[in-house]
Symmetry: D2
Subunit: 414 residues, 4 copies
């Protein structure tokens, strides 16, 4: 692909190179896992062994040391060319570790030193490929800032109960990052985030993911039944309804990295379409479909959409790299809305474009893409997932973006 | 405006600063010139006096020394916030001089030394604000690579005859850069480019520009009636129908710089709309139109379109800056198609987005924008011009982009 | 045009035939009136002389006796092929008289007998071509149901004061149908409708219409300065904010008839485009632009849009003809929302389609359509007016339609 | 649903009533058959028993006697609200029998009397529910007018060999209507149509349909291995490449009836969405999603799309009913292109609208629609099939429509 996104850091370049290797492996099994709705455990094992899952662990702890969000986007886009389901899981995992890496130092030096030390241990284990994070924030019938899963104080411990849904990676996850509602005596409930090991008694991974697309992302429900956890694994995060800066940063970065997966899906669809009909060596040139103006125009519209997508990820990735490194580990939530607006605009560009690109490839396929054994039939279903993702779905993002641009008070709690 | 495009070079920053000053002046008279269809001579005089028109003249010759196409785009976008008609003229003028600056050194050392020296004199004059270039390539009923204006060899001179149309800046132009069909004895006709001073006997500026929009761009017809010119002002450019690398470079760069004007128009429309209804200090906030979700969503769609536009100009601008500086002054035409594809994709993104942004501002205006004394009614007409511009209009670009992507042989001659 | 809309009644057919004759006359002067922003008085005189303006006056009173809204739509679409500005004025005039014809009988037999008799006289005069109605409902800064123009009771008379805007036809109007806020002693203000003769002392037609398009529709402001009128010319219409059934019927019918004008504009744009490039006798066939797939596809998209437009006007026209004739002269406002939903859906289809059709014709014109002397440059500006029109602009209609479909309480007061 | 399409004939009304009953039955099993990719044999048995499959058999032969294409569209749209896969199969079956009913009389009186009598027997059997037609025209790698399946003359018989694909209904079909290439001695190949009973030796129904959507339509391949058939079951149809009028009529009618299925899918998606969130009795009204302007606007856009779809089917259905009954049984192919243009425009309106309606319902569902147990996840996949269907897919229709409108020679052979 000409003019595709390239990494700016050498750590990023190593990450992207690994991503391409894993994409090739994922491509072999993607259709079968899609058909079965099964989680590609062997692919995740490979991601762990190669060091890919330690991409955002600092080099001194044994990771690749990728700190650039922009480069994370690039690597995830490459992986998504093989299997979008794996890519969205890898995006969530690596961005969560990226945030832990950012927070570790600051936390170790403050009141939250036990959490900081906990993160250091976690990151060291991650560097050895022993950690898979599941970011488990969603619940049925409520919004991000208002979890119903409770963490009830019990001496120096918490008892955590409730059910999370859309828990991507859950079949392989070793650790669940959960938003909780902290209950402690008579004080008002507070928002918190808990790191819950999979082997905690009471954790039940439902593995009940059955959807139209992204079928091998393992995004089922996780039940938490009175899980007893020491208090240093629960981070206090302020009043219910208001996302703290740390988590806002994760939300901003995570949303952009996820968008990378949808670029990769779209690039893959366009590549297989052009390879099939193109005028290059071995192709049929103008005597085949490539010679039709209507087909050329559809390929062109895809190029235009891909260009927009790459460009907004490139530019917004640079903006995040600059702004988030300028910011202290703990910046103010109020400063984050303008960044989130940029990320949400980028998301809308990329995710809509990806849907349109795959749809045009379907059209150009002349019906062949509708057959189950044609990869386009998977991409068509997978790519539609992007527009649902939190914190702002396609239904919610426009109001949020407009409110920020118009200078109105707004909430992240999409 | 948050996250607007910023220049990367200090020369570019000076250019953009001047552009903002001139935009403020242009804004005062834009509506009147639009109404009259008159050319804003006083604005062009100011552009000359301030050094703005010498933006791309090398510093050692007295210019600002802007070499970055990306920064030219930024500056033109700022100027266009004041008056799009002036901005497209300034885009053509500055890009033409940018190309002359690139060519000067190479030409001085080869067979075309007389042309090189001619360009040096021209650039020196331009640095003193005495030059306004009119890029006069279009003719009725033919394409870019097949001009019908003839340059007939007559000893050490050429006699040039014919009519050019869409001659932007022509009312103020001191020099016309014209494509010609060179006729010489029995040899086949060749493509050439002539630099024709305005005071050459036989040059008649028709000043007959009367259009729906871009009414003060002075883009009327110029008749050339047997204009006698010394042969060193006519550059040989190869066979008819095939644009030479030098001109291909100008076409690539010029198309992107022009797109900057349409970003500026769209930014201006969004800015005046948000200023009118926004929730900032002095605004009515949620009690006014800004409180309506439907309005927020329209403002958001505009932000999404503006983000795409800025991002593709940013990214493609960087690509051109890197590739065109890597290339020698005279690169191969065949290498240029991939750059032109990127530029055309960018153009489609920006020009379509600009039309849509202004249209949404119209809708949000609730009818007020339809009144002649509302600037939106001018922007709505001006912004539609972008999709017509050569070498690839909205009707032609998709086939070209698709053919390049599909690896088919293609032509620039849109 | 194949498959164009045809009238179902013989009265409608006579009306459409007249419309075509007038369209041919209007076409001659449309561009000049557009350029000047002048009202085509001579065209309106012809409309009066031919009986066109008496289309909806009952036959027994000397009119054409058109009662079908669907046929009114057809006739107005034909007239709009000549001049859209005249067509929207004619649409408002004829629909207002249609409503008066409906109301006359019922009113004559009830408490409002004086108004009924007044309408009979008015319709007789209209049959002789002596009446031009201006529907003057809009005011700056308020909504349809909340006029600020006051009608203050003064004995057996009212004194009416205030300013109306968007008063289409006002330069030629003999009678202004104005919404007013009735003030009478200590009772709460009520909504009313007054019929104000032009020669009433205090009426000042500002003739200040200056817009981007629909420039010869004469839709300027009308000032009412303490106009003294007998009380039988003011119809009581219920509480402020709530449109009465009579006026709701007029609003429903009027909105659909107006949409006919935008179909006509779009048909005209497509016709002149196909005539110019088509493959018919005298055309260049496949050797010209018509041979390009990209052009064929644009012409096809226009056909698709025109088909939708014709079909929704046909179907909704039939629905109105059936439902409004079933209804008594005074049906319940609550029953009208489902009809208004249909009309607003139709309006969105037709008005968006019309904008898109003209825009594609512009693109196919390759720039020629952008020149002031090309009719497309007028159509492009005229056609944009449709999406602003009350009671529901493109900004307001979606919420209204959605609320009605979702079974929520809603208001007509857009 | 308000303003839904209603039948114009009493036969049509009976058909639509049956369709609603069957839709309710189909709705129960649609998701399971979709999941399995299995053909709903029990549903087809019911369609046979009720007389639904004899809808277009003349009353005197025991059928319902539906002759109106418009009413067929309505009934098929109702059935599609239950299961789109069944509806497209039923559309093809009933339209094929409609065409046989048209042809029967004419054929019985001419040279093709044996075929006419054959059709009479067939229609009588169909009236008893013993016939399911599979319209088997498609083949891999060729177009409609150029079949590769051969019918080689062998005395008073033909030997038919080859493979058809996209054979909707094939698991239940008793009779295959196949296009063939007739080979006879030294004469040039001719186009023909054969009626092949399922129990003919050599017929193998592959039952290999496995697609993204329309999974229970049973549209797999059918192999024909040297099937020996008497010559009166092969209709001669003229030169290869040129569809005869009889088949053109079937193609025109069939395309419109099929479009009805996509209206039904879209109506179903909108109905379940409004029922879930609407403000009616039992709904949550404005306190739920229905209270959000953004949601109202999406519901409104769906209404607008549904209105367009219903209106074009209504209008084009009427056109076909009038024109096809005016035409003799055997009209000229050249006269058919304008009708096909109308049908293709209608198809584009309906099929695009249906895709968009289901997509918006997905968005409004907030992710719930993406789950496999939500009917929207099936509708989203099913609805995409419409744009592929022959003779003109979304890729082919614009050129065809444009060529007809522009008066160019064109071919049906999409």
């Amino acid at each position: 692909v000409d003019f595709e996104l390239e990494c700016v850091s050498s750590a990023g370049a190593r990450f992207a190179e690994l991503a391409e290797k894993h994409a090739a492996e994922c491509a072999v099994t993607a259709d079968q896992h899609d058909r079965d709705g099964s989680f590609p455990r062997e692919r995740w094992a490979e991601l762990g062994r190669s060091g890919f899952l330690a991409a955002t662990v600092p080099e001194e702890l044994g990771g690749l040391g990728v700190t650039s969000i922009r480069d994370l986007v690039v690597g995830i886009s490459r992986l998504a060319r093989g299997d979008g389901s794996v890519a969205i899981g890898a995006a969530m995992h690596t961005t969560a570790l990226w945030n832990f890496s950012r927070l570790m130092g600051a936390l170790e030096q403050g009141d939250d030193a036990p959490i900081g030390r906990q993160l250091r241990l976690l990151l060291r284990a991650a560097a050895r490929g022993r950690v898979v994070i599941c970011v488990a924030l969603s619940e049925r019938g409520t919004s991000l800032g208002h979890p119903r899963v409770t963490a009830t104080a019990d001496g120096a411990a918490y008892r955590i109960s409730g059910t999370k849904v859309f828990c991507t990676n859950s079949p392989a996850a070793t650790l669940f990052l959960c938003s909780v509602r902290i209950r402690s005596g008579n004080t008002p409930d507070r928002l918190g985030f808990a790191l819950i090991p999979r082997d905690t008694p009471g954790v039940v991974v439902r593995d009940d993911w059955d959807t139209m697309g992204m079928r091998s992302s393992g995004s089922g429900a996780v039940s938490l039944g009175d899980c007893l956890l020491p208090d240093h694994v629960v981070m206090q995060a302020g009043p219910v309804g208001s996302l703290p800066a740390d988590m806002f940063t994760l939300a901003v970065a995570g949303a952009l990295v996820l968008a990378g997966a949808f670029l990769g899906i779209a690039e893959h669809a366009q590549n297989i379409t052009v390879d099939r009909i193109g005028g290059g060596p071995g192709g049929r040139g103008r005597t085949g479909p490539a010679g039709r103006s209507i087909v050329q125009a559809m390929i062109a519209e895809n190029e235009i959409d891909l260009m927009s997508s790459r460009a907004v990820l490139d530019r917004t990735g640079h903006v995040l790299d600059r702004r988030l490194s300028e910011a202290s580990g703990r910046s103010e939530a109020t400063e984050m809305h303008s960044l989130m607006r940029e990320v949400q605009c980028s998301n809308m560009v990329v995710k809509r474009a990806a849907v349109n690109v795959v749809d045009r490839c379907m059209t150009v396929s002349g019906g062949a893409g509708y057959l189950s054994d044609n990869p386009l039939s998977r991409l068509y279903r997978d790519v539609r997932a992007g527009l649902f993702m939190q914190p702002f779905s396609a239904l919610d993002a426009p109001e949020y973006i407009g409110q920020v641009r118009l200078g109105l008070d707004t909430e992240l709690d999409g």
